[in-house]
């Protein structure tokens, strides 16, 4: 039991203040156990604070420590409950920043609870004065802990089987304008986009139940549109009915109504909170419902490299919490997204097992232990002319969402949808035939457009549009700019 050296001595527990590293939170010889939760923080210590002490402080404040020695530690197996900072590395190219590796015993966490996990790991410590800034870069979740979570209620495999759609990215669009349409007009956009060839349409994150459109009105008209589109195409279609609301009772009421109407999918926003997300995941599992998560709000803490929580960590938490879809970046669209970082997020969501991959920002090997895969969603400023780049960067298990790129089409919404679908199918066909889509992509699209007037019009309208800005959130091991 415990470390026999200094820890148990009366000296160690004399009232007063000790350095965190002296309290046992810095243990450079510690070998993490297979069952430990491991967190990697980027720390920016204040002037004069050495990195090991700063790492020890983070370990202490995210586990058992308070600012002073307490004798009541001696009533516990405190050595076990202390998180251990065991490694500190300088960040390449950033002189005042360090990567601190911290291991946490599994007993520190309640099974199956993201709220509990995060209350420790990001609870108090981000406001801690000896640090200028702190960022949670990555986590290793041990299999023993993974197994306490239900994970995605549906998963990529079952979603595809239910929808009967294989071998290509799914296509979606967010109804625009996102605010102001009446239920009847809103349903028109859904119908046109689905009959034109999309698989899904989507409520936007802030469409809930406003004066211009009550939620029931939206649900009824959207389901009329979905069913009509199914009948004219012979395909299963869906509309993400956003059930986000002020209370769990309201959300359950809306989700029940969506189920009653025969919707295959509902939607929630990240801002509802981790516990609410887990509750909706359990509801979705009970009701055979695909659960779509919009990551509303995440950029407030994921985007800046020196402070906050990396989106790869959010991706891991959301796979555990149990969502089927999550917005995870486009690389080429209008929103933040370095190619390597985004591929790192996608790998976290979709693979059975992630090897260490520093170029993509993955610091740990992660075994997902059979947990369902999450379908990433690429949404925001993408269009048919980028189809080869999207398929190249994002692969085929992804929902590509063209909102403006569908609804803003000069020939109308259905034509916009058809343009996207034809571009997608032509690109997948060509890739499977062994063609080099990265280089031949524009030619493949042009050839497909010869037999599809809507695609020709889409390429004429948007073919040259790119969002070529340098990314903020890039991996530290390969400096890159966003490719166009």
């Amino acid at each position: 039991m415990g470390n026999q050296e200094t820890q148990q001595s009366s000296e160690r527990y004399r009232a007063g203040v000790l350095k965190y590293s002296q309290m046992g939170y810095w243990q450079p010889d510690y070998e993490p156990a297979e069952t430990d939760v491991i967190a990697l923080f980027r720390i920016s210590p204040q002037e004069g604070v050495d990195p090991e002490e700063a790492a020890a402080a983070v370990a202490g404040e995210s586990s058992t420590a308070t600012w002073t020695v307490v004798w009541t530690d001696r009533l516990t197996a405190c050595d076990r409950y202390r998180a251990k900072a065991y490694r500190v590395d300088p960040v390449p190219g950033a002189p005042d920043q360090y990567f601190a590796y911290i291991a946490y015993d599994l007993d520190l966490f309640e099974g199956g609870s993201i709220a509990n996990l995060t209350a420790s790991i990001i609870g108090n410590v981000f406001g801690f004065k000896p640090l200028k800034a702190l960022r949670l870069e990555d986590m290793r979740i041990p299999v023993a802990y993974v197994k306490t979570f239900d994970g995605p209620p549906t998963g990529i495999v079952v979603e595809r089987e239910r929808l009967d759609k294989f071998g290509r990215p799914l296509l979606g669009a967010t109804v625009k304008p996102k605010l102001g349409l009446s239920g009847k007009n809103y349903g028109r956009v859904v119908y046109e986009a689905l009959r034109g060839g999309l698989d899904f349409t989507k409520d936007d994150e802030n469409i809930n139940s406003q004066p211009f459109m009550h939620w029931r009105e939206r649900f009824l008209y959207c389901m009329e549109a979905v069913n009509r589109a199914q009948a004219v195409s012979g395909e299963v279609k869906g509309h993400y009915l956003n059930v986000t609301a002020a209370t769990m009772e309201d959300m359950y009421e809306r989700a029940e109504f969506a189920r009653e109407l025969g919707s295959v999918i509902i939607m929630i926003d990240l801002v509802i909170g981790y516990t609410a997300i887990q509750s909706m995941a359990k509801w979705a599992r009970r009701n055979d419902m695909i659960l779509h998560l919009h990551r509303a709000g995440h950029s407030t803490y994921t985007r800046q490299k020196n402070h906050g929580v990396s989106f790869r960590v959010i991706s891991k938490w959301m796979r555990l919490a149990g969502v089927d879809h999550i917005h995870a970046g486009t690389v080429v669209g209008k929103l933040e997204g370095d190619p390597n970082s985004v591929q790192g997020f996608y790998n976290v969501l979709r693979e059975d097992h992630n090897p260490v991959d520093l170029q993509r920002g993955l610091f740990f090997e992660q075994d997902w232990a059979g947990l369902n895969k999450v379908m990433p969603v690429a949404s925001g400023g993408i269009h048919a002319g980028q189809m080869h780049q999207l398929l190249h960067y994002l692969g085929e298990d992804v929902v590509l969402q063209f909102g403006g790129g569908t609804i803003g089409h000069p020939m109308g919404i259905a034509a916009g949808a058809t343009a996207n679908r034809v571009a997608l199918e032509a690109m997948v066909l060509a890739r499977n035939e062994g063609r080099d889509i990265w280089n031949e992509g524009p030619d493949i699209l042009k050839a497909a457009a010869k037999q599809c007037r809507p695609l020709e019009a889409a390429l004429d309208t948007w073919g040259e549009i790119t969002f070529d800005y340098t990314s903020t959130d890039t991996p530290d091991f390969v400096p890159t700019a966003t490719a166009s």
């Binding site: 071998g167 004219v232 195409s233 012979g234 037999q451």
Partner: protein
């Protein structure tokens, strides 16, 4: 109307060479190719008839094309699709599925509405051709 199930239904009908190229891709991935046909293309008709077993042991596209040709000549007025099945752990499902034949005429679907309480509507989708018995739904329906 043109039923748009399957991976490539928005493209012009695939030529024999294009079908063989896709089958070749599937075999390169280590997937088992199978052929299915139906005269009930309802979007939720999961179980089309199997045209033989999945071809787990056929390694070259030419071998699969022999079966494709046989299916096309036996069921010219049916929907026929090629599936590729991936038995890898974590997938164990179809990875590609595309229609390679369809009836000369596709009358499509009727949508029925049953008005229920609170403006709720119960929807039901029916194939027009499905009013006829199996085997007599499309074209001459010569084969059952």
């Amino acid at each position: 109307m043109r039923i748009t199930q399957g991976t490539f239904s928005y493209l012009p009908d695939l030529s024999r060479e294009q079908i063989a190229a896709q089958i070749n891709y599937c075999l390169e991935q280590g997937w088992a190719v199978s052929i299915e046909y139906t005269d009930d293309p309802h979007p939720r008709n999961t179980y089309w008839e199997m045209f033989g077993m999945p071809m787990f042991d056929i390694q070259d596209a030419a071998g699969v094309m022999v079966e494709v040709d046989r299916a096309l000549s036996e069921f010219p007025e049916y929907y026929i699709k090629v599936n590729a099945f991936d038995s890898t752990h974590g997938w164990e499902t179809v990875r590609l599925s595309f229609i390679i034949n369809r009836p000369g005429e596709e009358p499509g679907f009727r949508l029925d509405r049953l008005e229920a309480e609170g403006r709720t509507i119960r929807y039901s989708t029916h194939t027009y051709a499905g009013q006829n018995p199996a085997g007599a739904r499309y074209g001459r329906g010569e084969t059952a």
